[in-house]
């Protein structure tokens, strides 16, 4: 079953002079098993939007249902929330236990695993995100570097193997190999469990590489919704909105400007190389 968002509006501090419509009448459906990307300028409402998906924030109007559970209803919300694992934009909000291992084990324990099982799941999850449990398990989360904190926060959610994995800027602060690890981990989770991934990212590269569909938010409104092919063929519109195209798309555009004939569908290095190889045989 999908996540259905209907006419969702969220207004911060309604009725005050600081009233701000952060999400404005957004309707969309996220299909089961899908990799759904969300992009948008700073302050476009991405974090506000996704916090509705686990009922952390309530709509001012409109409705969110997760697998049929209405997230505005207190009882149903509990059931819906159990399906959604959320990694926040700032890992500091997520880490609170006295050791990294306990922190990562917190989720699995909550799902009913025994102390021992939970620690095993936790150690497993730490390994998949490149945090050696031997080295980091007994450290305090507050003694981690920025990227290590991000990995710990990711591990905590991955350990729960949620049906819906909601990630707010998961790659920020990760080193290049960490970004590769996370992509591989997500791929594995999708393959093994068929889990649905919703990822907010400022990195057009990451979204272009992984997402099957992309929503573009602009000033709280759903500006566009489509496949990467559709979204990244609108380079100029993206730039006008504070976004950008993947670098390979910019290269393709620069080549067109110089009079070369490059197809619209080229926005990743893989595609560029494939296309370039083909040319040689013409």
């Amino acid at each position: 079953m999908p996540i259905i968002v209907e006419k969702l509006t969220h207004t911060y501090m309604p009725g005050t002079e600081n009233e701000h419509v952060a999400v404005d009448n957004v309707s969309l459906t996220i299909n089961e098993g899908e990799f759904f990307g969300i992009i948008g300028h700073t302050g476009s409402g991405k974090s506000t939007f996704i916090q509705h998906l686990n009922g952390l924030v309530q709509p001012t109007s409109g409705k969110v249902t997760v697998d049929g559970f209405d997230m505005s209803d207190k009882k149903q919300r509990q059931k819906g929330r159990a399906l959604v694992g959320m990694v926040f934009q700032y890992p500091d909000y997520q880490l609170f236990d006295s050791t990294v291992l306990d922190d990562v084990a917190f989720g699995p324990k909550n799902l009913g695993q025994s102390e021992e099982e939970a620690k095993k799941s936790a150690a497993e999850a730490m390994k998949t995100v490149g945090l050696d449990p031997e080295l980091f398990g007994e450290k305090s989360p507050f003694e981690l570097s920025g990227g290590e904190k991000r990995r710990a926060a990711l591990a905590g959610i991955i350990a729960m193997k949620p049906k819906y994995l909601v990630l707010d800027e998961p790659m920020a602060g990760l080193d290049p190999s960490g970004r590769r690890d996370v992509v591989a981990t997500i791929d594995a989770l999708r393959r093994e469990l068929g889990c649905t991934v919703i990822m907010v990212s400022h990195s057009m590269e990451d979204v272009a590489r992984s997402a099957e569909r992309i929503a573009v938010l602009n000033e709280g409104k759903l500006y566009a919704l489509g496949t990467p092919d559709e979204i990244f063929s609108k380079t100029q519109e993206l730039i006008d909105m504070g976004l950008d195209a993947p670098q390979t798309a910019r290269l393709a555009e620069a080549l067109r400007q110089k009079g070369c004939d490059v197809p619209e569908s080229i926005y990743t290095n893989e595609r560029f190389i494939e296309w370039f190889r083909g040319l040689k045989h013409v």
């Binding site: 911060y12 501090m13 600081n18 948008g40 300028h41 700073t42 302050g43 974090s47 934009q89 700032y90 500091d92 080295l135 003694e143 981690l144 570097s145 920025g146 990227g147 290590e148 991000r150 990995r151 800027e169 920020a172 602060g173 990760l174 080193d175 290049p176 190999s177 960490g178 400022h202 057009m204 590269e205 730039i239 504070g242 976004l243 950008d244 993947p246 670098q247 390979t248 910019r250 290269l251 620069a254 080549l255 400007q257 110089k258 009079g259 070369c260 004939d261 490059v262 290095n269 560029f272 190389i273 370039f276 190889r277 040319l279 040689k280 013409v282």
Partner: protein, 278 residues
């Protein structure tokens, strides 16, 4: 000039404690734009905190314009010279109104009130947050908070600007704006910039790239020199910029000649003639 000599540092006590920095020596010249890259936990933030005496070396020395950071009497003077924007803006936000927050640094350093007003306005303008001067920082989005943190350091008017992944939460245009500010301050005002980043594309704009690995300086050189060493970089959990990766792969299949293009513009220059010939 900043001079780092034989620095050792560990967050824990004891003989066998893991070292966050070990045997680090580095000179940063006045007016230089240096990028620091390195895997998570390689010691970049620790090194940054050494530059304005937030952390002192266990052994070895750090001197900033001739001032030894270990000398407590000089701490305030050092902090007037070196401003750092940290990874997590929340840890830097201290007041409940944006403009007070931006003025907090200069006020602490004893800048006169009149002057603070001016600096705050200029700094907010530079990061495009003038409209939010009276807002509450905790109500801002992630990227907006990050801009406020950057404005706070700009208001100190430091001689050395240290950006510790200051663009990590910004949208592409915001990221470009911050890089442009840093670049402009460097070129026009001669301010030294030390930029820590996980985005190899950003490191390309620096005069020099310093690569950290497990608490040590593993390589340094111009971006062109460093990013020709893709295999070595990948071994220490890093990578090359997207355009360099493309160039490497095309060259490996002999589809293009091996060049040292780094950016979209340079790649377009290289490839266009080949395409037009085809």
């Amino acid at each position: 000039m900043i001079s780092i000599s034989e620095v050792e540092y560990s967050y824990e006590d004891g003989e066998d404690a893991k070292k966050a920095l070990s045997g680090v020596s580095l000179e940063i010249r006045d007016g230089e734009f240096v990028a620091i890259v390195g895997h998570n936990g390689s010691g970049k933030s620790t090194l940054a905190k050494m530059l304005n005496a937030l952390i002192l070396p266990d052994s070895g020395t750090v001197t900033v314009f001739g001032m030894d950071t270990a000398d407590e009497k000089l701490t305030l003077d050092i902090r007037k010279k070196v401003g750092i924007v940290f990874q997590n803006p929340d840890n830097q936000i201290v007041t409940t109104v944006v403009e007070e927050d931006v003025g907090f640094g200069p006020e602490n350093l004893g800048v006169p009130t009149q002057e603070i007003r001016k600096r705050v306005d200029r700094a907010l303008e530079a990061v495009g947050m003038t409209d939010y001067a009276r807002s509450a920082p905790h109500m801002l989005s992630g990227g907006q908070k990050q801009r406020i943190a950057i404005a706070g350091v700009l208001a100190i008017r430091p001689d050395v600007l240290v950006l510790d992944e200051a663009t990590a939460m910004l949208d592409p245009i915001g990221r470009k704006a911050v890089l442009d500010i840093a670049k402009r301050m460097n070129k026009e005002l001669g301010i030294t910039v030390v930029m820590i980043t996980q985005y190899m594309e950003e490191a390309v704009i620096a005069d020099r790239v310093v690569v950290m690995n497990e608490g040590k300086v593993a390589m340094q050189g111009t971006p062109r020199e460093i990013f020709r060493r893709g295999d070595e970089l990948r071994k220490i959990r890093l990578d090359v910029p997207v355009m360099v990766e493309l160039r490497e792969k095309l060259a490996a299949e002999s589809l293009i000649p091996d060049t040292d293009a780094l950016t979209v513009e340079e790649m377009a220059e290289e490839i266009c003639p080949l395409l037009l010939k085809n």
